[in-house]
Amino acid sequence: MTKAKRLSTAIVLQRFGPLLGLMILCGALGILSDHFLTFDNLVNVFRQSAVNALVALGQLAVIVTAGIDLSVGSILGLSCVLAAQMLKAGVPPAAALVAALGIGAAMGSINGILLTKLRLPHPFIPTLGMMNVGRGLALVVSGGFPISELPSGFRFWGAGSVLWIPAPVIVVVVCYLIFHVFLTRTTVGRDIYAIGGNPQAAMLSGVPVDRRLITVYLLSGLMAGAAGIVLAGRMNSGFPLAGSGAELDSIAAVIIGGASFFGGVGTVGGTLVGALIMAVLRNGLNLLNVSASWQTVVIGVVIVGAVLVDVVRKRAAERAQSAAA
């Protein structure tokens, strides 16, 4: 194997930029607040990042195909209240869990089918529609009120722990490992990157483009369903407005994590770092007593800043590659 071992600074930056940003952020917060780098607080950050991390994982697959999924927040809310309502009705937790995942996968695949088989012009359209349908159904199912007091067997997924490790963190780690293998080690994963890189070339290479896109949107819905279970468990209730804005948070995590809206680029590791950066920021700003309103401003700036840094480092990498050519 003659793979070049020489790593220029540009390439290091491109590969590890988001991680570097996360470390600098943690270092700075550690200096500014005595509380930030304590074990309890870090466990807390991980727990808080779990819901966004799960949604972002599905969103990553969608964005790699040069798509966007606006419906994940609503799907999250729907799966949340559906599970809660079923539990209230005495359905065993395992069945409620399967139903919550199932509704997510079903709504996601409808997005995919609308996009590919009915040839809607851009994923923005079907997922925007589904965003409203999902939220509406969540309100219908719950009657507009939160459904609280869930059985502990179900609450485990959001609030439980194994030894010191929160259950949602375990869910995140397992899902991320599976997605990592899926996207980097399977032919389906490579098809997904090829579709994002050049759909026409992928189609003319025999990639079943429609089927792959449906899979991707199904997975996005499924992950939103999983996030709904974790959130319901953590809050000990299913409330119909759960996950409002989750679509934008997940997109932000994916983009901060180095994926490109143009498709074909993005990693599972980067997305995890992106979700953690957002959680660390919120947590850190809380510790520093920054008001929620200003937190929102800061997060907005970070999203744009991260993409700006990304654009600059990509240009540097292009130069490095051109020089090597």
Binding site: G189, R190, G206, P208, G264
Partner: protein, 489 residues
């Protein structure tokens, strides 16, 4: 020579692109009120010359005179101000604006910044009435037929008081009836003193409409005459030049092939390719070569019934084609052939991976390295994004992915377009090696020399249909060109 009544005179116009001389001292004259046909093979320099006249490109050397005065036209705007308009092949109209808005696009008559819509509509109606095809000035361009859109472009040219209108293959997308209508309009314009440069491949039309015809070949004008003073054969000979019946360089693999048909179809065209055979597809731009190859590959949304190695199959989409051992090397490798942001491994292994779940990373890397060696693909590493590779190396990467997938029937669309001379020779070598291994190859090309060098048999297309077929030994550029321009066999 420069009598004052000449409208446009070009003398010694030359133009090179990155060292390659496209125009080599062209002389060209247009008189007021004439329809002047400009003919020549693809790549003869017609478009470049017209782009210089209309200010899109600037000549490296040479002189341009307009009504006897030396002028330099550096932008399309300057050409427009002189009175030169270009009606492009892919019409340059805004589909969602009205006809009237399009006619005055970029030049709205205005009063202190306010657009005078009423004037625009009135002037547009007058212009359209003059052309007399009953187009509504308020209609949206999107709702118009191609023929009507052309008329809008012509009205646009007239709105700017153009005295010279350049039309690039205006009849190519038209039905015969629409073409007749266009000719009537052109004659009417001529009678009003407007000159028209009419680029066309269709010899019959040239004889029908033109007052004079100029033929270009290899960046020079080789003939300028009235149609009466020449003949279809005369034009064809002028376009093809000296290399009439030159036998191609010996190519051992490209003989008639075995007698076993590898691919046989009746629809959309009756066509057979045998194992070990290269069949060429000739035809002018727009003759339907790309459509034919993409249809055979299942990429045009229409199922194709074919016999592959004698077994009947239906190809509904590219997945079927790949499964049956077909390979498509598309005409535009960047848009259709490659994932440019990915490296050689990802691209080369893409079609081969069907039916497996997990990647075999090590196998793929070794195979890619072997193919890179074998096809002499020059890249910094097999992970370097293909965007950074030269055209020739990119094209070899497209071939490599089908070699790795084990394809047996190759559909090649302009396989050496935009490729340097060395890679071109190497690609020919690859094609002939495929042949020697018993693969069947269908190659579409606008370069006749390429077809003569590779193909044992040449199929000629004209306006979406197969106009004829000939074995290599009976093929000549002259015969091919005649069929491709709609002449009789």
């Amino acid at each position: 020579m420069a009598t004052p009544s000449v409208l446009l005179e070009l003398r010694g116009i030359s133009k090179s692109f990155s060292g390659f001389r496209v125009l080599d001292g062209v002389d060209f004259t247009v008189w007021p009120g004439e329809i002047h046909a400009l003919a020549g093979e693809n790549g003869a320099g017609k478009s470049t010359l017209m782009n210089i006249v209309s200010g899109v490109l600037t000549a490296d050397s040479g002189e341009m005179r307009w009504e006897g005065c030396a002028v330099s036209v550096r932008t399309p705007r300057e050409a427009q101000n002189l009175g030169i308009a270009f009606v492009h092949q892919e019409l340059a109209l805004a589909p969602d604006l009205s006809v009237a808005e399009n006619i005055f696009l970029g030049r709205h008559p205005s009063a202190r910044g306010w657009v005078r819509w009423r004037d625009i509509e009135r002037r547009s109606r007058e212009l359209l009435d003059e052309l007399g095809h009953g187009i509504d000035a308020r209609a949206r361009v999107r709702d118009l037929s191609l023929a009507q859109r052309q008329l809008v472009e012509i009205a646009r040219a007239l709105a700017f008081q153009s005295r010279l209108i350049i039309m690039d293959e205006p009849t190519a997308p038209l039905t015969t009836r629409d073409a007749e209508g266009l000719f009537r309009t052109m004659r009417a314009l001529r009678d009003r003193g407007v000159s028209i440069i009419y680029i066309s491949h269709r010899l019959k039309e040239i004889f029908e409409i033109a007052d004079r015809v100029t033929v270009m070949r290899d960046g020079r004008t080789v003939l300028s005459a009235t149609p009466a003073a020449t003949s279809e054969d005369g034009l064809v000979r002028a376009m093809a030049g000296e290399v009439l019946t030159r036998a191609s360089a010996a190519s051992p693999g490209a003989a008639a092939g075995s007698m076993q048909p590898a691919l046989r179809v009746d629809e959309p065209h009756r066509l057979t390719v045998h194992r070990g055979e290269v069949v060429g597809i000739a035809g002018l731009a727009g003759a339907g070569r790309t459509r034919l190859l993409e249809t055979l590959f299942g990429a045009r949304g229409r199922p194709v019934k074919a016999e592959i190695d004698g077994t009947p199959v239906t190809i509904r989409h590219p997945q079927d084609a790949v499964r049956h051992g077909l390979a498509l090397v598309p005409d535009d490798r960047k848009a259709k052939g490659l994932v440019l942001g990915a490296g050689l491994v990802e691209n080369i292994a893409l079609p081969a991976a069907r039916g497996r779940l997990f990647l075999r990373a090590e196998v793929e890397r070794l195979a890619t390295e072997r193919l890179v060696d074998e096809l002499r693909i020059r890249a910094a590493s097999i992970d370097q994004p293909l965007r950074f590779l030269s055209g020739g190396n990119q094209q070899k990467a497209v071939l490599a992915k089908w070699l790795y997938a084990g394809a047996r029937i190759f559909l090649l669309d302009e396989p050496t377009r935009g490729v340097d001379v060395r890679s071109k020779a190497e690609i020919y070598e690859i094609i002939l090696t495929l042949c020697a291994r018993g693969c069947a190859v269908l190659v579409a090309s606008s370069e006749m020399e390429e077809l003569m060098a590779l193909a044992g048999r040449i199929v000629v297309m004209h306006r979406g249909r197969i106009a004829g077929e000939m074995a290599r030994h009976e093929a000549s550029e002259e015969r091919i060109l005649k069929l491709a321009t709609g002449g009789t066999h």
